[in-house]
Amino acid sequence: MSNPEAQAAQAAHIALLEQLDIHHTHKSFRNPAWRPNARRNKNLKAILGDASRKEASVNATPQDNSGAATPAAQDNDGLSTSGTSTPAVPSASGTAYLQPNLAQASRSLSKLVLEKNLSAASSSTKPFSNGTSTAPTATYTNIESAPSLAPLKHYCDVTGLPAPYLDPKTRLRYHNREVFAMIRNLPQGVAEQFLEARGAHTVLK
């Protein structure tokens, strides 16, 4: 750091950083009294877990089980073969059972109080709309795509080419014998990484 050029560059860099910095900028538009909840940062799993717990407690309280929320309404949607109306994410444990109630909850009395300004106007002409109608409301978990029903093609885990073979030792799919020779000479653990790219690795719990 002895030569003046480097020093100047360094100083310029610091000046730039100070210009970019917004830590020390006074932000007048913020409410100075704002104190966020210290535990507001939650990951997806935690949020879904909390939601399903809440759902379970709602379920425990007696509810008016009439009308559109009967399972028959569910079957209407069940015509679809994709099965997407059932939740595909196992993390929201128990939602499969809770599903009718979830839909029902959204239509329960306490919710009906809330205004649905636009749907109210349109529901008279259309048999369906956002939250009303026969299908359950879309939730983060139940709009997830279901597993594929199409036959699965096999591709080489190394090269991505079509793979007619499967190595029983490493469980890798491979294209030809040259690739086979390579996968048999892989260092420890690398084969598992190849499997992981295809989501077929062993997960230890």
């Binding site: 940062n41 939601a51 048999r184």
Partner: protein, 763 residues
């Protein structure tokens, strides 16, 4: 075919790459800092000029970019990634915090980057980062002058079926922290659809965090029929990164990160119209140079210091000198060992002579003295020693010194008592010299005999070839096959050692157990030593150490002293045989040789990793190159076959679209054809070349013949969401749907009013 012709044909094939043009290299691209962006105060001034309630701040809050601007303008003012970085600079002794692209301005800052969104989802999981990014956005929009609260309504996008918790926390932030007068949320892809004048159709939105398909009927989204496929640009980039790491699993010297992978996906990947057919021929040698894309990572060429002739000569001399010294030392050591063995041999031979006419008891006593069991053991020892000496002499043949004069041995004939102190010393030295000299002489003789023997063998071989070519060839072929089998056997053994149940492993385990046990039975020595004390004299016999060789995995890595020939020897032998066969056997061609089979121009994996040109591992430029070939179509293909390629257990985009169009919509009593007329693509991840065409090819077989299938792309798949939101922000519908601060306080933390571009209210 004459040998020269063979070589020529060979060269044509191997040299074909020379006709290729020089490779096109693409530089690495990654997210970087561009320049300081001053706060834009004019936007706010213009907003204040608008009639009250007309202007709003529009934020497309995407997981790839947060785009923000004013509702009355046609373009967002800024687009930044939703990241922040906060750290303490030691040199400046100051805490810095940046948001968006500014995070890339400094290396220390780059290491502290945090993302507002949970990786690979559209869900915000880090609210401190989100707040910071919004701070940045509001500063740049010129809002840093208002006191205490934002005085503009906010229009913001959110993901399809956003979680109530996320919306609740966002509301909290916007109302409590920024004091916004009102907020309205909408779905980005629906805004984009609206901006492109869509009213009935299927919106296919593939963005950074996920891919959504939403049917829209007369401008109303059928959210209950929407489907999400958890694959987007982020996943594609991570997947490509994983593939690259695996492709060069032995170690790529360049620094790889996901931002680079993102750029590669954007620049080089395209959707294949017929994946399986194109894939099959992707690594074919013809045209591979056009199919592959080479990314050159920065590298420093190793500087070779040019040395003068003189210096080089001096270095060579020095090397030779030290080499000679070492050789001399080694030769001396070998000689000493040889002499010791010869002495031993002499002793045992003498013992044998003495035993000739002794009685039993005396014999036993003499044998015990020499620590031998019986006469058979003695004979064996003698035989072993003779063999060892012979072998050692033959080894010595290599670096033998030139002829030397016989030294002076005059004192040896003089009895000891006639010599004084100095004389005795000299005599001892002379004795040593003499045996030394004699050993060398014997070695030389043997060497000559060996040479003669080899010559004789070669001559006989030659003779045989001339007289009986067929037989000779057959013999060579057999020998070659035998050697190949040997190589294979060795490889098999090596592989077997990896398998616990194989015989090789079991023998090894037995050896280990034996070595570890308290009273090992020396399996290899064969000599039973049952003399008392703790000292089993393991190691007294050199052969004892052989047990470790069989215990060590990869048993062939033994030092050069080993009597078994190394792998190189086997291969060299095969090569020599092949050379002979190439010369004299018409049916044997180059293609059959070991070299040809290992030639890079035949290797699929070479084509995969290094393309159609040879690879020089010593060149820094070439080791710092990424060759993308199959990946170019493999990565985007995940959207169509998520399970088969990336192991995502969901249906592909075509299957989903087919399901919505042919099952779900008719189930609701809607005409599929209305939707088919407008399949709308939006989102950055749909920008791949051929995406629309592939979707058409995929959907056609699922639909009735003559179905009016029409697919169109958004004018600007990336920015239309923001533009749509800005265009919508001042409509009556938008104004009706605003949730004011009072309503929020009254009706709940995640309360929204439903409208045609937003999510349904679900708790």
């Amino acid at each position: 075919m004459a040998p020269s012709a063979i070589e020529e044909a060979l060269n044509v094939r191997r040299e074909a790459w020379r006709d290729l043009p020089p490779p096109t290299l693409y530089p690495v691209k990654e997210a970087k800092f561009e320049k300081y962006l001053p706060p834009q105060l004019d936007g706010r001034e213009r907003a204040l000029e608008q009639p009250p309630g007309e202007a709003s701040i529009v934020i497309d809050n995407g997981s790839h970019s947060v785009r923000a601007g004013w509702s009355f303008e046609s373009k967002p003012r800024l687009a930044i990634p939703p990241i922040m970085s906060k750290y303490r600079d030691r040199k400046a002794n100051k805490t810095f915090s940046f948001a968006g692209h500014d995070c890339y301005a400094d290396t220390a800052s780059r290491g502290h980057i945090r993302n507002a969104f949970e990786a690979g989802t559209g869900i915000i999981s880090n609210w401190d980062v989100m707040e910071h990014v919004l701070d940045h956005v509001l500063i740049k929009l010129g809002m840093n002058g208002v006191e205490g609260a934002i005085d503009m309504p906010i229009v913001m996008t959110e993901t399809v079926a956003n979680l109530p918790y996320t919306r609740k926390t966002m509301n909290e932030t916007l109302f409590e922290c920024y004091g916004a007068p009102s907020v309205v949320y909408g779905i980005d892809s629906l805004f984009s659809y609206r901006h492109n004048q869509g009213s009935t159709g299927l919106v296919v939105s593939s963005s950074y965090s996920a891919t959504h398909l939403i049917p829209v009927y007369e401008s109303k989204p059928l959210l209950s029929q929407a489907i999400r496929l958890s694959w987007g640009g982020w996943h594609a980039a991570e997947y490509l990164l994983k593939l690259i790491r695996l492709k060069y699993y032995t170690g790529f010297p360049g620094k790889l990160n996901s931002s680079q992978a993102e750029h590669m996906v954007r620049d080089f990947c395209y959707v294949s119209l017929d994946y399986d057919r194109e894939l099959k021929g992707y690594l074919d040698w013809t045209g591979l140079e056009d199919r592959e894309r080479i990314v050159q990572y920065p590298y420093t060429e190793e500087v070779v210091v040019q040395k003068t002739e003189e210096e080089l000569a001096r270095i060579a001399e020095r090397k030779k000198e030290s080499g000679r010294r070492l050789q001399e030392q080694a030769a001396k050591m070998r000689l000493e060992r040889l002499m010791k063995k010869e002495e031993e041999l002499e002793y045992y031979k003498d013992l044998q002579r003495r035993l000739v006419d002794q009685n039993k008891k005396e014999t036993k006593r003499l044998l015990d003295e020499a620590e031998l069991k019986d006469e058979a053991a003695l004979e064996r020892v003698i035989r072993d020693l003779e063999k060892a000496i012979k072998k050692a002499r033959q080894k010595d043949l290599g670096g033998e010194q030139e002829e030397e004069e016989a030294p002076d041995f005059s004192l040896l004939e003089v009895p000891d008592d006639q010599l004084d102190e100095a004389g005795l010393k000299q005599k001892r030295q002379q004795r040593l010299l003499k045996s030394n000299y004699e050993a060398r002489q014997r070695a030389k003789l043997e060497k000559e005999a060996e040479k003669a023997r080899l010559e004789e063998e070669a001559r006989r071989d030659e003779e045989r070839r001339i007289n009986d070519l067929e037989g000779w060839l057959e013999e060579k072929r057999q020998a070659r096959l035998a050697k190949l089998a040997q190589i294979k056997e060795r490889e098999r053994l090596k592989a077997d050692l990896g398998n616990r149940k194989s015989l090789a492993s079991q023998i090894r385990m037995k050896n280990i157990a034996n070595l570890a046990s308290d009273n090992p039975t020396t399996a290899s020595g064969g000599r039973k030593r049952r003399r008392g004390g703790d000292d089993d004299d393991f190691g007294a016999d050199d052969a004892d150490w052989g047990v470790y060789r069989s215990v060590a995995i990869g048993a062939n890595k033994g030092d050069s002293d080993d009597d078994e020939e190394g792998e190189e020897d086997l291969e060299a032998a095969v090569r020599a045989l092949e050379e002979d066969l190439l010369r004299y056997d018409k049916t044997f061609s180059y293609d059959q040789t070991l070299d040809a089979q290992r030639d890079w121009s035949k290797s699929l994996l070479h084509a995969f990793r290094y393309g159609p040109r040879p690879f020089d591992p010593a060149s820094a430029a070439e080791t710092h190159r990424l060759h993308l070939n199959v990946e170019r179509i493999r990565v985007p293909e995940v959207l169509f076959q998520p399970t088969a390629i990336a192991g995502v257990d969901q249906a592909g985009i075509i299957e989903i679209a087919g399901d919505i169009l042919t099952q779900r919509l008719p189930g609701l009593g809607l005409a599929t054809d209305d939707f088919l007329r407008d399949i709308f693509l939006t989102g950055g991840n749909t920008l791949f070349q051929n995406f629309d065409e592939r979707l058409r090819i995929g959907l056609t077989p699922l639909l009735p013949a003559g179905a009016p299938l029409k697919i169109r792309r958004a004018q600007d798949a990336v920015l239309d969401a923001w533009k749509g939101a800005a265009g919508w922000a001042s409509t009556d519908e938008a104004k009706r749907s605003r949730v004011t601060r009072e309503e929020w306080l009254e009706k709940g933390a995640d309360y929204i009013k439903e409208h045609d571009l937003g999510n349904a209210f679900a708790s």
